[in-house]
Symmetry: C2
Subunit: 507 residues, 2 copies
Amino acid sequence: MLHRVRSAVAHLVSSGGAPPPRPKSPDLPSARSAPSAAPPEAPRSPPARAGSGSGSAAPAKTAEARASFSRPTFLQLSPGGLRRADDHAGRAVQSPPDTGRRLPWSTGYAEVINAGKSRHNEDQACCEVVYVEGRRSVSGAPREPSRGQGLCFYYWGLFDGHAGGGAAEMASKLLHRHIQEQLKDLVEILQDPSPPPLCLPSTPGAPGSSDSSHLVGPQSCWSSQKEVTHESLVVGAIENAFQFMDEQMAKERRGHQAEGGCCALVVVYLLGKVYVANAGDSRAIIVRNGEIIPMSQEFTPETERQRLQLLGFLKPELLGGEFTHLEFPRRIQPKELGQRMLYRDQNMTGWAYKKIELEDLRFPLVCGEGKKARVMATIGVTRGLGDHNLKVCSSTLPIKPFLSCFPEVRVYDLTQYEHCPDDVLVLGTDGLWDVTSDCEVAATVDRVLSAYEPNDPSRYTALAQALVLGARGTPRDRGWRLPNNKLGSGDDISVFVIPLGGPGSYS
Amino acid sequence: MLHRVRSAVAHLVSSGGAPPPRPKSPDLPSARSAPSAAPPEAPRSPPARAGSGSGSAAPAKTAEARASFSRPTFLQLSPGGLRRADDHAGRAVQSPPDTGRRLPWSTGYAEVINAGKSRHNEDQACCEVVYVEGRRSVSGAPREPSRGQGLCFYYWGLFDGHAGGGAAEMASKLLHRHIQEQLKDLVEILQDPSPPPLCLPSTPGAPGSSDSSHLVGPQSCWSSQKEVTHESLVVGAIENAFQFMDEQMAKERRGHQAEGGCCALVVVYLLGKVYVANAGDSRAIIVRNGEIIPMSQEFTPETERQRLQLLGFLKPELLGGEFTHLEFPRRIQPKELGQRMLYRDQNMTGWAYKKIELEDLRFPLVCGEGKKARVMATIGVTRGLGDHNLKVCSSTLPIKPFLSCFPEVRVYDLTQYEHCPDDVLVLGTDGLWDVTSDCEVAATVDRVLSAYEPNDPSRYTALAQALVLGARGTPRDRGWRLPNNKLGSGDDISVFVIPLGGPGSYS
């Protein structure tokens, strides 16, 4: 992520306030000994044609790997390949090898390192098939081992790191495990067509605590109970998994396991539906029969201005007397005191004039525009994982309270449309989208896929490579330039192309 | 507004915390002596064909009128007419008389009283042409009287009161005056095609304080200054006018000038653009060539759940130990302590299970669904004016901090489309929309307008009447019933129909 955190001011220290305590999730995955995501038994649905995932991490080596440079294991890079992937001068595009096991669904992937803005590629990626075994039956009775009660989900994740690669690497190795953990309680519920129970017994076997009498609401201002869908349980599981992942980073930051922070864009395919969860400025779009369907929105100081200002207004102590929650269209000079300046507060979308007072001379909580927009003059994204040690320059003021780890989750029902092999879900870090519009991506999808046979599984990797190359450009005139002579992206660029009806898909 | 505030719990007392102090707006309109909105001189643009507004209030009588029942003055009701308008049994539809001056733009209007839910009709309406004289020139130099520097805006407002009619009546008499006040500083700026100045002198004639040197930002993390549009200044003026109106109600509540609260839906037409500002659950749609263009969204405990929960989470003292910011799908019973219940917090859109703890037994800040959704078990709308005295039942806990007076403002550029006489902007209080869909309104627009000549100015009043009648129904089977035998709306119903290309419009 190029310049997302101002290098001059983003300094990592080991202190900082801990987040509020939350109920512990049992069997929390550990960064040091992440268990394999491979299914312990054959998944029931969908069929595990893709095996246990071609990108399974080497969990025992996580702690050592974190200390050095690493790339996604599914790239199967040799030591020489790893050096080439780390070469800022050549910027060779990396993809999984043609030989060997393909990614699930014949997913295409390509990446390239930045042009020198950070020592290593701070993007990370993950692609897995994850099996979820139920923790216990809903009724509290012991699970019958003969029933294939497990659930399987397909998972893709892009993690765009900043201020260090630790958070992105940790998230790429563990976020799907947190999702797995959150889904354990839901294994039976999600496979039962009846509405989810609103209340569950506290412990397995607690007599009668989940019978239907609990589903009848008491007489109160609630004349009825809310309907909760299976889909909303999966959304809640993903949301909480992001939060638990962020809390784990907070706990392990003192051991420098999770330096920096990262944007996270993940896709979960479960029981016919695609869940796209985004926290940061990566982007996902579906290109279907040439039509573009946005599957995420970006979270930046501009798009989240009012949320940030409201927090600063309600909790002025978070501003440390250094910042004002008001927004101004430019920096105010001390000599302008008493004049009237345009401003916006947390409630306004329009602008109005206000008399400049002494406290308006403080630096604004949110300032700048576009890619230069910043929170507290420091960070250019407002959602993501990590950043627990991030401070304002020359200050002990933590920035984290203004950053949210919660993703926006959008759901796409794969069963509602008959997809063809050219229909794809494209995930990219901002390195792609900074220089490529949605329409340009759709045009590339059409151009590249039409050059391959529909049943050629390598076409999606070719597409991912074309997208990365198109955003990187070629070295010319002392820079990486696109065919139109504009500058290409000097950022890390990572792209997944997930076929929605292709030869390797779920169908 | 039917049952919007639970009558058993909505009680008005004279105490309560004052809002934070704000800079005073000069020449703040007074509820007791609201000056006339009529232009002191002929407006320059657009031509004042509609005169000074056919609905100008009798400002000197405001205070007395507030103590008794009143209807919009543009209805020109006689004492007998006023009694008929106040008759819950007959529920006669009221419109401005055919004789006499028409509303600006030949606007159609109709209203009907509720079926008995409150003593009087708590909806109020206003339709005005308002002239704005500049407060001073931008440069600080005295204004040249020879230049026609004034601005004229057209204004329509619907105010749906609850817990008393005072707030709605006060808003109907004064909100446009607050907008006028906010626009005074902008008169020259809005008529100057160059970008608005970011900084203005503190006082007229202050030397050099608004020269272009101020437009150059200092070297800082802001490499550039933000562009501010004329449109966003009008939006900011309307937003601030709502806030000043709400503050005036807070100040005058002790004198019982502004009992209760009200939703506010207002339209401002200024310099070619229509600004629709909504705070509450009224609704505006444009019907253009049969197509429906939504011009507002409703603000209810359901649509604003996360904002309310965030405020309760960040400021738990506002919950007074009586409420929890968490949402549950039904009321929890004490015997369920220790079990696991579905919940959502301020960050979640999905649901997850949590172990029920003692504090989860508190009443939820937000509960119920649809029209029964409530904040603190009391109020069913989350934006509007007033409500400064509203307390939780059997408690001194104020609800106001959770209610916002800020509208959402949408802008529609009238010059971007050639409108025909059948293109209309329809405003309605929830009495209309509770029983009428957008599509049904569009069908009625088509049916009624096609029965009249395009240049017949009475067609818009006929349409407003048809919409009100269609939502009220006819008395049958011990109730007001629609043709499909479903219950009609028992609420107050008020409708404006504003022609966008009709015979009386701006063109």
